[in-house]
């Protein structure tokens, strides 16, 4: 009898332990296919940092044309990685989302032109064809940049996720990420000195790009887990920077998994960046090392960043409240 009681008690305790260990199972939708842009998440998962915090994070990637905030609000996922300016706009429209993690400290958006096209200064963009990412939220900073430089008569061509139009002379200026498409341009045989580059970082020093957003109730009900997730991811970034080769191997594995899924699925996508090669991913990881400080980084959105975004978006201070948008709990 004593033995039976002991076994039942042991089983109950084990189940409690398992439940406790798996109490935080969360879904994160990142904004793009597997790449070095998400190395912190991959490495935190790989090194078991999430598990150490008692969390399990399922990372998924967006299908084409998905509105990720819609997916978030539909409670299909717990977290999304979305564009900061777009999040402000979404919030201003009354959607109760919060920024719970902001690992990168500035934007890496660039406008790039070939010097051979005659564009040396931003004023030269007047009357030119400008290729901007087709999603409107990805155009805000560039449009604001051109507006502040009094360049208003230009033609915008919406572009997808590549630089083909720019290389073939369809557009004179193109929006790129310094860690991604800019290197693709260089890998097409151009030298940096042959390109005119307008970094948004210089125009908007406090502007950031993607952050991690969730619904308010997710934040309110799971603060401890969210903070743990932020902490574990930051450790993941640290691990990625300390062991970039391993991080690149993990990214490669993730790419292969997605490619395999893609090939065997009806809902196919092509992950070109994912498969664009070792050299590009390595460059990208190095860029993220500069963008993502480890020491002193609390991964919280800063007030000045919030203010910069509000200005760019032309929002009033009452449209979105900082504390409401980015709770500063550490």
């Amino acid at each position: 009898m004593k033995l039976k009681s002991f076994l039942i008690l042991s089983l109950a305790l084990s189940l409690c332990w398992v439940c406790a260990a798996q109490q935080g199972i969360y879904k994160l939708r990142v904004c793009w296919v597997p790449s070095a842009q998400f190395a912190g998440f991959f490495m935190a998962e790989e090194e078991g940092f999430y598990a150490q915090e008692g969390l399990a994070l399922e990372i998924s990637y967006p299908p084409r044309n998905e509105e990720m905030f819609d997916t978030l609000m539909a409670e299909d996922v717990d977290f999304v990685m979305e564009w900061f300016l777009y999040a402000l706009e979404f919030k201003a429209k009354g959607n109760d989302i919060v920024n719970v993690a902001q690992f990168q400290r500035h934007t890496e958006e660039l406008l790039v032109a070939k010097k051979s096209s005659g564009i040396q200064t931003v004023k030269d963009i007047k009357g030119r064809n400008v290729g901007l990412w087709f999603a409107p939220q990805l155009q805000y900073s560039f449009k604001e940049f051109l507006k502040r430089n009094e360049v208003d008569d230009y033609h915008i061509y919406p572009i997808l996720d590549n630089i083909t139009l720019f290389l073939n002379g369809g557009v004179d200026v193109v929006s790129v990420m310094s860690f991604s498409e800019y290197h693709q341009i260089l890998f097409c045989g151009y030298k940096p000195e042959e390109l005119t580059v307008f970094p948004m970082k210089e125009a908007f020093p406090n502007l950031v790009m993607e952050g991690i957003y969730c619904r308010r109730e997710t934040w309110e009900n799971n603060k401890k887990d969210v903070i743990a997730l932020r902490r574990a991811t930051l450790k993941g970034w640290d691990a990625a920077f300390k062991n970039p080769e391993k991080a690149l191997q993990v990214i490669k594995r993730k790419c292969d998994e997605i490619t395999s899924l893609h090939n065997s699925s009806n809902n196919r996508q092509i992950y070109r960046e994912c498969s664009f090669g070792y050299a590009l991913q390595k460059e990208m990881l190095e860029n993220f090392r500069r963008m993502t400080p480890i020491e002193g980084n609390d991964a919280l959105l800063k007030k000045e960043t919030f203010q910069e975004g509000m200005n760019i978006m032309g929002l009033n201070e009452n449209d979105v409240l900082f504390e409401d948008f980015a709770p500063q709990d550490k």
Partner: protein
């Protein structure tokens, strides 16, 4: 036998060393020639592969362009309604596919509002998968996604047909397209109606890539097709397809090699005004990953749509493959030559064995063992002949040695007899000159040095009576024993005839009569006889063909007694000889000699001559016959040196010291 001196080893070396030298020279020459020729051939082949591949692709591109424009023209004129357009495209795809199997889809994308049947009509795609068609159409898209695609934007922005970089189709396939803008006339106005797109599956381009096979070794070359910006669209290296650009391949763990990057820029025309690749050529890459980090030569040809076909060949292929191949081949041949040397050595060694045995037999023969058995040899080759010849030589040598032994014995006996004859002949000559001690006013000296064991010269001095001394010198014709015997006869006869005879002419006449009458040997004697009155110095003399004696006076002057009174004795039996008289002065020396003195010959075949003799005896310091004898003899042999003495040398000197009649 020492191996290092053996004929087998020498023969092996004589054959194999030149063979090795020739082989190495040929190998080096072949390596040089093949290396150069192969380099040129490979360059041509690689460029040829690039050009051939580009040529095939150009045909496809040209065909595609033609078909694209044809269908686009049809869209502009014929189909107006959606169903007509769909039927038209489906039919065209069917016929186009027959011409060009690679074209697997046709898409028609309208500019907003340009489909007359449905202003919201966006796009129609007709694809072939195997033998089956399937199609997709878009209406009223909230996000006009298809119109953001490059295949739509680029031709509409640039208002021209374009080849579009590979992109992901809605079903996930990697497609590469040729886009042609088409126009429609609506209300009499010609506006851009949309874009016609012909689709290829990127994977189909791999079939066009021709591979370059290297003639030796297992190193691989890579052929790839790239868009004008270096993106690898098709490659024999599947890992590179859509994963790398030609420029990203230049990045290694050590970064990008600037020279490689510049070479790649040259291929893709980054330094050209058009910023597009053109033409063909070759560029060298040192650190690129094109061939897994190996240095490579890249041969490229630009296609008509500015795509580039490149063939990468390992730069060090010849060094890493050809050289080791040649070294292996050379080592193999050297091994064969070494084996050949061993075989030659063994064969020669076997062939030489009878010779070695023969040599041992020869050594025994050389040591005097003439009865040693020669090795038996069955064959009938040269060695057999040598053995047979050696056997004959052995027999001949044995006979010769026997004969030689007999000959030596006989010669030793003859030499003994000659020595005896020599002693006898010497005994015939006077030992003491002058012969009688009471001739105190006459002193003399004489010597006969025969050229051979015995000689034909003679001299004599004997008292005729108490006041007269006979002085005689002669030279028998011929040499050797006959001459010596004739000399002995003459010497004996002259003493018998001359005893008491004070007239030299009478003595010579009688001696001639005897010798000329009683011998048939044809020998004769040149003869000079003088009768000297030892008291007064009066000298009567008769010369029968002999060298004229010389009178050396005390003051060194010389007078020759040149008168000849007849031929040599022994020739004419009844010849009467006459005589001359001369008066010697105290101190005068009568120097008689034979032709062995004046005709003494040196190595240069020059003779001493009478003049030299006179010059020799003219020295007044020579004041006695003994000194004169030594002086003349030394002069003769100093003159002849090492030359052989051909004739007997005889000198006799008589000095009239004082005139007793003046006492």
């Amino acid at each position: 036998m020492q191996i290092k001196k053996s004929i087998a080893l020498k023969f092996s070396l004589w054959i194999c060393v030149p063979l090795v030298v020739i082989l190495l020279a040929i190998s080096a020459l072949m390596l040089y020639v093949i290396n150069n020729q192969l380099g040129r051939y490979l360059d041509k082949s690689a460029l040829g592969v690039a050009m051939e591949t580009a040529d095939h692709l150009d045909k496809v591109f040209l065909q595609t362009q033609g078909l694209g424009h044809l269908i686009a023209d049809g869209l502009e004129t014929t189909p107006r309604r959606i169903d007509e357009m769909q039927t038209y495209t489906k039919n065209r795809l069917t016929s186009v596919h027959q011409y060009c199997k690679e074209i697997m889809g046709v898409a028609v994308a309208y500019m907003p509002g340009m489909q007359s049947g449905d202003p919201n009509y966006n796009m129609y795609v007709h694809l072939l998968e195997g033998e089956n068609f399937f199609f997709t159409e878009w209406h009223n898209e909230t996000i006009d996604y298809q119109r953001y695609q490059n295949w739509f934007l680029l031709p509409t922005i640039k208002n021209t047909n374009c080849w579009i970089d590979p992109f992901a189709a809605f079903d996930g396939k990697l497609l590469c397209s040729y886009s042609v803008p088409f126009y429609q006339i609506i209300d009499g106005k010609r506006d851009l109606g949309g874009v016609l797109v012909l689709d290829y599956e990127v994977s189909s381009f791999v079939n066009y890539l021709k591979e370059l096979k290297l003639p030796i070794g297992n190193q691989k070359c890579t052929t790839c097709l790239m868009n004008p910006f270096g993106l690898i669209i098709a490659s024999t290296e599947p890992e590179h397809i859509m994963n790398e650009t030609f420029f990203s391949l230049c990045e290694t763990e050590n970064g990008i090699d600037p020279e490689d990057f510049e070479a790649a820029r040259t291929i893709f025309g980054r330094n050209n005004e058009t910023d597009m690749p053109s033409g063909n050529g070759k560029q060298v890459f040192k650190h690129t990953r094109i061939l897994n980090g190996k240095p490579c030569d890249v041969f490229y040809q630009t296609c008509m749509n500015n795509w580039v076909v490149a063939v990468a060949v390992p730069t060090d292929w010849r060094k890493t493959t050809l050289f080791p191949f040649f070294i292996k081949a050379t080592l193999l041949l050297l091994g064969i030559i070494a084996l050949l040397a061993c075989i030659i050595f063994i064969i020669c060694h076997r062939i030489n064995q009878p010779l070695v045995k023969l040599a041992k037999a020869a050594e025994s023969v050389g040591e005097g063992n003439f009865d040693v058995a020669l090795p038996e040899y069955d064959s009938e080759d040269e060695i057999s002949q040598v053995t047979a010849s050696f056997g004959k030589m052995q027999t001949a040598l044995k006979d010769y040695i026997n004969k030689l032994e007999k000959s030596i014995t006989m010669r030793e006996r003859t030499e003994g007899e000659l020595n005896t004859a020599k002693s006898i002949q010497k005994d015939l000559l006077p030992h003491i000159l002058p012969p009688f001690d009471h001739y105190d006013n006459i002193i003399g000296a004489a010597d006969l040095i025969p050229a051979h064991g015995v000689g034909g010269d003679l001299y004599d001095a004997f008292p005729v009576d108490k006041d007269h001394l006979a002085i005689i010198i002669g030279d028998v014709s011929g040499k050797g024993v006959p001459a010596a015997l004739f000399m002995a006869v003459t010497q004996t006869l002259q003493r018998n005839i001359g005893m008491g005879q004070t007239s030299p002419s009478v003595m010579v006449t009688q001696l001639n009569q005897i010798l000329a009458s009683n011998h048939e040997t044809n020998l004769f004697v040149t003869y000079w006889a003088g009768i000297l009155n030892v008291q007064t110095g009066e000298l009567h003399y008769t010369c029968a063909g002999h060298n004229p004696p010389l009178i050396r006076h005390a003051d060194g002057t010389v007078t020759a007694l040149r008168e000849r009174h007849g031929p040599p004795i022994g020739i004419l039996p009844n010849k009467k000889y006459i005589e001359e008289t001369t008066q010697l002065q105290p101190g005068d020396m009568v120097i008689c000699y034979t032709d062995g003195v004046t005709e003494a010959t040196n190595a240069d075949m020059k003779m001493l001559g009478e003049e030299k003799l006179i010059q020799t005896i003219s020295d007044p310091k020579i004041d006695n016959p003994q000194l004169m004898l030594i002086t003349v003899r030394d002069a003769v042999f100093e003159f002849t040196g090492d030359a052989e003495q051909f004739d007997d040398v005889t000198i006799m000197i008589t000095q009239f010291v004082k005139n007793s009649g003046q006492k």
